[in-house]
């Protein structure tokens, strides 16, 4: 399973910074993360299942999107984008 790495406040909502989550794509991993940790629902994926505009997901250090493949031991980082005001 992929290792999903979170920072606050997402890590607080999920009860920890690292979570082993199954899924073949980034989208599947994030949906599974929501399923296993319901308090995070709506925080990373919007109602349409898209990664929120100002959230970045990296797979082994490379920027990914919903359809990016995820292998068994990949590291998936979910980070706030360096944007905002």
């Amino acid at each position: 399973m992929a290792q999903v790495m979170l920072r606050a406040p997402l890590s607080e909502l999920c009860g920890g910074r690292t979570h082993a989550i199954a899924g073949a794509t980034v989208g599947e991993v994030l949906v599974a993360l929501e399923r296993e940790h319901p308090p995070i629902a709506g925080w990373v994926l919007d109602e349409q299942g898209r990664i929120r505009e100002h959230v970045n997901v990296f797979v082994n250090g490379i920027h990914g999107e919903e359809r990016t493949p995820v292998a068994g031991d990949d590291r998936v980082h979910v980070l706030p984008a360096i944007t905002g005001g």
């Binding site: 989208g27 925080w43 109602e47 349409q48 919903e66 706030p80």
Partner: protein, 375 residues
């Protein structure tokens, strides 16, 4: 003692004190996050705030103590669309905006029934809670309205920003959406009709107005009801001020050639004791949106819009180019003891304890102010 809840770009602030002596910050919540709106339900004392994380989206939070923990409310989400490819990019076309995710929650308003609250947001949803704000559901009558594909956003988005109840009658609601117009229901939200007759779309070429008059493309900025004469409503339009004496069925121009420095503005307020009263804060037109000539004035009518008088004793006289946003003006009390408060995007808050006769700065150095609500 007055309690003000101020929503800002960088969190919610509670200010407390007397308008004559100034107010002090007694609580801050949601630091670093945009608090579009914060209010206290007068029936329960509960605080509710609509908060948008730049990163993680909008949601409503609830607490009985704003200095303590807040609980995330549930249900302020839009229906997914099974026909949308989850991996597809949003088109960016405003016509597709209503298919997107919830962008912001603009306003929270107590209903007429115990435990009922309403919330409006972008892209135009109306949510209803029947348990004091912890759980919400989408009003499908409005969301599924057949005209929705014709709705277009204003500069602030496709925002449902105004929710006006009818005292004692939960079946009647008046809504306003930018840039769509006024919506009315008489059956508790099961069905909706738009009602913009009499409003002149001066922001369109004259030859285009007639064809657009019947369409839901009206940029209403704010609406308030006279509670002792509930069929009377006052409206701040994009460029115009209007009154309705028939519960929103038709609208009468009360802003043209009345001496106002501008009929553009965002908020409007009323004295609950006087159905002929209204207050506006004119800003120079759509391109500038600052106080005219660098002078800050609140304009008051006591004859239902036949005439307007400036109220500014104590407000900045010159070199003050402020912007006062839609939800950043509120009242408390009524009559001669009516209190008025407004906040500006430069972080200043002004208040009056005598129905606008005199004013004082009651708060300063706050982040850009989105909303001001008395509690």
């Amino acid at each position: 003692m007055t309690e003000l809840l101020v929503g800002t770009k960088k969190g919610m602030f509670r200010l407390e004190g007397d308008p004559a002596d100034g107010l002090e910050i007694t609580a801050r919540a949601f630091p670093g996050q945009s608090v579009e709106y914060a209010m206290r339900d007068p029936r329960t004392g509960r605080y509710l705030a609509s908060v948008t994380s730049w990163f993680y989206g909008p949601r409503i939070w609830v607490t009985d103590d704003p200095t303590g923990e807040w609980e995330q409310a549930k249900g302020t989400v839009l229906p997914g669309d099974d026909e949308v490819d989850p991996a597809a990019e949003f088109s960016g076309d405003p016509a597709d905006a209503y298919k997107g995710a919830l962008n912001r929650l603009w306003v929270i308003v107590p209903g007429e029934e115990d435990g009922v609250l309403y919330a409006g947001g972008d892209p135009g949803p109306l949510f209803e809670s029947r348990d004091g704000g912890l759980n919400w559901s989408l009003n499908r009558g409005l969301w599924d309205h057949p005209t929705r594909p014709e709705w277009n956003p204003g500069a602030g988005g496709l925002c449902l920003h105004t929710i006006v109840t009818w005292p004692g009658d939960p079946s009647k609601l008046t809504l306003a959406i930018s840039a769509v117009g006024v919506w009315l229901t008489d059956d508790g939200g099961a069905s909706w009709r738009h009602s913009n007759e009499g409003i002149v779309l001066r922001y369109l070429p004259e030859e285009a107005r007639a064809a657009t008059a019947e369409k839901p493309q009206h940029c209403v900025h704010n609406v308030r009801r006279a509670p002792t004469r509930p069929e009377r409503l006052f409206m701040q339009f994009h460029d115009g001020i209007y009154r309705s004496d028939d519960a929103g069925a038709t609208w009468i121009d009360i802003g043209t050639d009345k001496g106002l420095p501008s009929d553009f503005g965002f908020p409007i307020a009323v004295d609950p004791a006087d159905p002929d009263s209204a207050y506006v804060i004119p800003l120079i037109g759509a391109e500038d949106r600052t106080t005219p000539g660098g002078t800050v004035r609140v304009w008051e009518t006591r004859d239902a819009g036949d005439s307007w008088q400036p109220r500014g004793d104590g407000l900045p006289e010159k070199d003050a180019y402020l912007t006062i946003l839609r939800e950043a003006f509120d009242t408390k009390g009524e009559g001669e003891r009516l209190e008025l408060y407004f906040g500006a995007t430069n972080g200043e808050v002004f208040g009056s304890g005598d129905a606008g006769a005199t004013w004082a700065q009651v708060g300063d150095h706050l982040p850009p102010i989105y909303s001001v609500r008395t509690a």
